[in-house]
Each structure stands twice: as C-alpha cells, then as structure tokens.
Symmetry: C2
Subunit: 337 residues, 2 copies
C-alpha cells in the first residue's frame, strides 16, 4: 500500500496525468467514457490526491482558518463557541474545506502567530470571531487582502464582510416584552461597551424605553463583560436602585445575575423579572428557566463559511453583510405565565 500518485492512476487507466487531474477536479473537458474509467481506477485503488502537492500547484490550500483573537479568548469557554464551531465545521464539511483553529493567548503569541492567518499561504481565507474596535488583526487582514468574514459586525463595516445577529432588534424585543408585562424600572446589564455587540444590545434597550417614553435612568445601566461573574457583580450594583426587571445582554451573565438575586433573597420573577440573550442550553434549565432572545448561533457559523467561500471563489466582490433575525423565547423568568 505505497502511496499512489496521479501518474500511476494515469498509467492504470491508460490516459495522461492531465486527464486524471481533470477528472479529479471535475473539469468538463473529459469524455464520459474516459471519466468513467478513471473514476473506476480511483475507486479501486483508493487514490487520494496529495493535499500539499495540490496546494503548491494551485496556490490554494482548501483550508479555512477560524481565529479567536486574544481579546475574546477569555470568552472561549462560553457555550456560545462550541455551537458556533459546530456550525462552521459542518459547513466546512459539506463544502469540502478543512477547518483550522487559531486560538491566540498572549499578545506575544498573537504577534508571532498571526502571520499564519494574515498571509494567503496556509489558509485560503479566515473567519474571525468578533473583534473589539479597530483590532490590529483586522488591519493586517485588510492590508494583505486575505479574504475574511467576521462573526459579529465590525465597527467600521464598510468593505468588510460579516455575519451578525440582529442584536439591536433582539434587545428591543426583550425590553419591549418586559414593558408589556408592566415592568417600569427596567435595568440592563450590557456587554462590554468597547464591542459592537455590547453597544448594539444597549441601543436596543434604549430604543425600547424611548419608544415608550420611559425616563432614562443611567443608574439602571451597568456594564458587564459577558462572563457569569461579571453578571453577578453587575446585578449587585443594580440592586440598590430597585429595578423591577432587567435585560441582561447574555445568558451567561443572566445566570450570574440570577445567582446574585438568589443570594439577595429576591424572587424571580415576582420581585424582579429577567430576560437574557443567546438561548444557550443553560437558559432552559436555569432556576427559574430563563426567558431569552434566541440567536441562531450555528447558522451564524454556517453563513460565515458560505460567505467566505463565496469570496474565495468569486474573488473580491462587494462585501457580504448578513444580519440574522432573533427570536423571543418566553420562559418563567420574565413572569409571563
């Protein structure tokens, strides 16, 4: 079982190397009979083209890189990421791409390793998990014109392809729901306000209050960091202001907020209603089960891959910018039955 080459397949099928290559790559200019015969041989021998030789000759690697920059590294344990990766991996599988994962920890590491993804040698293109405003990585990607799509909308979005959930509208729906249920002192625990997702969800909150002519109380807006502990601490800061509801910008933080409320002896939703964002697995099994805004995380990943492949195959194009709808999922924590 020594390694087979195109050459050998060619010989076995009585055609030239070129022809076999055409068959393998599904080119048109091959007569049906020849194609048939070659495929036969390939099948019988179990031939697989050598990826290295192939990339060298074609200048394409067939590899998509998923980059988790240092700045979001600390969130990587959030259940959000496995879901995202499932979506990405599945799409890669169906589109015959290989997925490589780049997790950067330290700044030094990011500096040293980023060339791996900012040159078109190793990867054909990359998917980048949402970056804070003006990350150097984005700049490098643009400079070296490496095709890439971001998950999460970038701050300067002109010319950049991305896939995002409709965060503003999602937050708006969450807060409107609370208002509809008669809550008046609606607080919010935001995401980090140096990220667009953080800003967007806060905006949705503001929009909903505005629309109803609710007064804006700055004390009811506390910044979180998307971690459970962050949610816990933020909730504690909110308590002295007696909110009767709180929109939390992520389920993970909402879990932390619930914990803070429990510690404070407050009853959810009786004393205070709560709505999260994401609809992670933990939301449904929280105590009480968490009303939340579901975002289609897997599809986010899948769409990112599709957009990227589009970029790869059709060359530079107007950027593909996709915003997916969210959905209000009502459970017990908001007090609606």
């Amino acid at each position: 079982m020594s390694k087979l080459t195109l050459e050998q397949i060619a010989e076995l099928s009585g055609v030239s190397r070129s022809t076999v290559s055409r068959v393998v790559n599904n080119h048109i200019s091959v007569s049906p009979e020849v194609r048939q015969r070659v495929l036969q041989v390939i099948e019988e021998t179990g031939y697989h083209p050598d990826p290295a030789a192939r990339s060298l000759a074609s200048q394409r690697s067939g590899i998509i890189g998923l980059v988790i920059p240092r700045s979001v590294q600390f969130l990587f344990t959030d259940p959000y990421y496995p879901r995202l990766m499932q979506g990405i991996a599945q799409a890669c599988n169906t589109h015959h791409y290989i997925l490589s994962l780049f997790l950067f920890y330290t700044e030094e590491e990011e500096q040293r390793l980023s060339p791996r993804v900012t040159r078109k040698q190793l990867v054909d293109g990359v998917i980048v998990s949402a970056l804070p405003v003006k990350d150097p990585l984005t700049v490098q990607l643009l400079e070296n014109d490496v095709p890439f799509v971001m998950i999460g909308r970038p701050t300067i979005s002109s010319g950049i392809s991305f896939v995002d959930s409709d965060n503003t509208e999602g937050a708006y729906k969450a807060v409107s729901h609370l208002a509809r249920l008669g809550r008046r002192q609606i607080a919010t625990i935001t995401g980090p306000l140096n990220t667009l997702v953080g800003l967007d969800r806060r905006q949705g909150y503001l929009n909903a209050l505005n629309e109803r002519g609710y007064p804006l109380d700055e004390a009811l807006i506390v910044e979180g960091d998307f971690t459970e502990t962050g949610g816990y601490l933020a909730m504690q800061r909110l308590l002295p202001h007696y909110p009767d509801a709180v929109f939390v910008a992520s389920d993970t933080m909402a879990l932390g907020a619930l914990r803070a409320l429990r510690n404070a002896g407050l009853a959810v939703p009786h004393d205070i209603a709560i709505v999260g964002f994401d609809d992670l697995p933990g939301a449904a099994i929280a105590d009480p089960p968490l009303t939340t805004i579901r975002q289609p995380i897997q599809q986010l990943g899948g769409q990112a891959v599709i957009s990227l492949i589009d970029l790869l195959t059709h060359g530079p194009q107007p950027p593909r910018q996709i915003v997916l709808k969210t959905q209000l999922v009502i459970r017990a924590s908001c007090g609606a039955q």
Copy 2:
C-alpha cells in the same frame, strides 16, 4: 509585496538556496556570520516559507488533527471541550504546530471524511477524543499507522498512546468522601457504560462501597449519558429508592440531577448530598455550589499534544500512556460545609 521565495532570499544574501533553507530550519552546518546575514535579510523582507512547498518536499505538514468522532459529537457543547481545545491549541502554539479540527456528524460524513485524518498526507498525526469500544476509526488509524493519541483511555489499550484522568480513583475519592460524611444510601449516576470513562467511574464507586463493606444495591446505580437532561432523568429514577447521597459521573449531569431534586422539593445537601465530576465552571456557581472531582482538562489536552509530537519526532515507540491525578473540591452540595 509579491511573494518571496527561498531563491530570492538566497540571492539577496549572496548564498545558495540550500544555505537559506538550512538557516530557516535551524540546521547546524551554517557559519555564524552567514546565518546572521541570512536572518537579517529574512527579517528585513518579512519572508515566510511556503507551507505547501515545504510539506511537499519534506513529507510533513506540521498539522495536528483533533478528531471529534460522530459518537461523541452530541457532547461537543459540554464546557469540557472548549477547555480541552484550549489546552491543545496552546500546546500547538508553543510547539509550532497547526491545529485542524474535524467534527464528524453523520455516519456518512465520517466515512467520507475520515480519510483526511487516516492518511498521513494532510495531518502529521491526530488526537482523538475518547471513543466508545472498538470504533472503526481507531482501527483505520492503526492500519494506516497514523501516529495518534487518544484523550481518554481506549478499551484495548495495548500499543495505543493515550492521556486520561484517573477516573477510577477520582470516583473512589468522591464516594469515600460521601461515606465519611455519614451517608449510607449512596447512589450513582454513571456515564454511558459503553465508554471506558463511564465504566471506570462506576468502578471507583464500587471500590469505595466495597472497601467499606457497604451492601451493593443495583437500584442505586443508574446509567446516564453525560448530558444535563440525562442527569435529570436519571435522578428521577433514583428518587423512589431514597438515596441520601449520589455520586454523579459528570458535572453537567449533576446540574441536571440538582434540577430534578429541586423539582422534587428535596434539599441539598440536607436531604441528599451530591458530588459531581469535572469541576467545570458551572459547578462553582450551581445552587448549591457543587462538590466535585476536578480533572485537569487543559493539561489533558496539552499532554496529548506533547505525547503526539514525541511520536512524530521519535518515530514508533512504546506507547505513551499517561494518567493524570484528580482532586476533590469540596463545596456545599456534599454537606461538608
């Protein structure tokens, strides 16, 4: 900024291509001055060797594959995996390897895509997340002698490299702890019993009971599946038998068990004590905080990479089989304040 080649660096530094290659690969036979000069040029020009050309010539890709087989795919959203991946990614970073991720969903997909990892073309070696007994993937890996190490001990471990936690001893410690606290009716929710990790942890449970001469009550042993819902359902089946303690073979299942107990109106740890396994982030913030067995997940990943690289560089060797110690983490759920 056209693409630089070895050739050009050679010219710019006034040496041959071979010499530049030696410098790049840190070979010994290069005079200090020449090396210095070449490195200078490389630095100035920002040259990076082409990975494809390199793999083609050297027959090594520098890529390590992480394989999540279909059979464990449904567990991928467990917080265990991000941690594991962090450990693996970090080790890959420091050892200059690229990490590729292979998630297989359907059986068809696994069949179609497994050649990617079972031939030494694309990846130099692979890390496989624990497989149920005698998975075909293992067989293929062995047949094609692709270097690989498993995370989690395989059933037939002769000749196979793996990294595992000491599951049996961990479970033993958990159950002994419960016994020490005076619990008598100690139940267990096991992992899937077609996996060795499931069997091992059950064995630890049995060992602890045995040692103390506790009677074995089959009704107190219920099989779970490592999911939250599985834990919930298993706990419900346990309730009619009035256990006063339960060792749950994973934190995720323990969270489900807690939910079942809450629904049943039982107080933890007063009515029933509970100990989990893993020490995932969710354990510390559960209500009550979960006593659990901590396993060093990141190190598991890191060790797997190190073992694999060892295999890659030193060729076939006696398998490296590493078992890492676990640690009892006492919180409120077991009743030992």
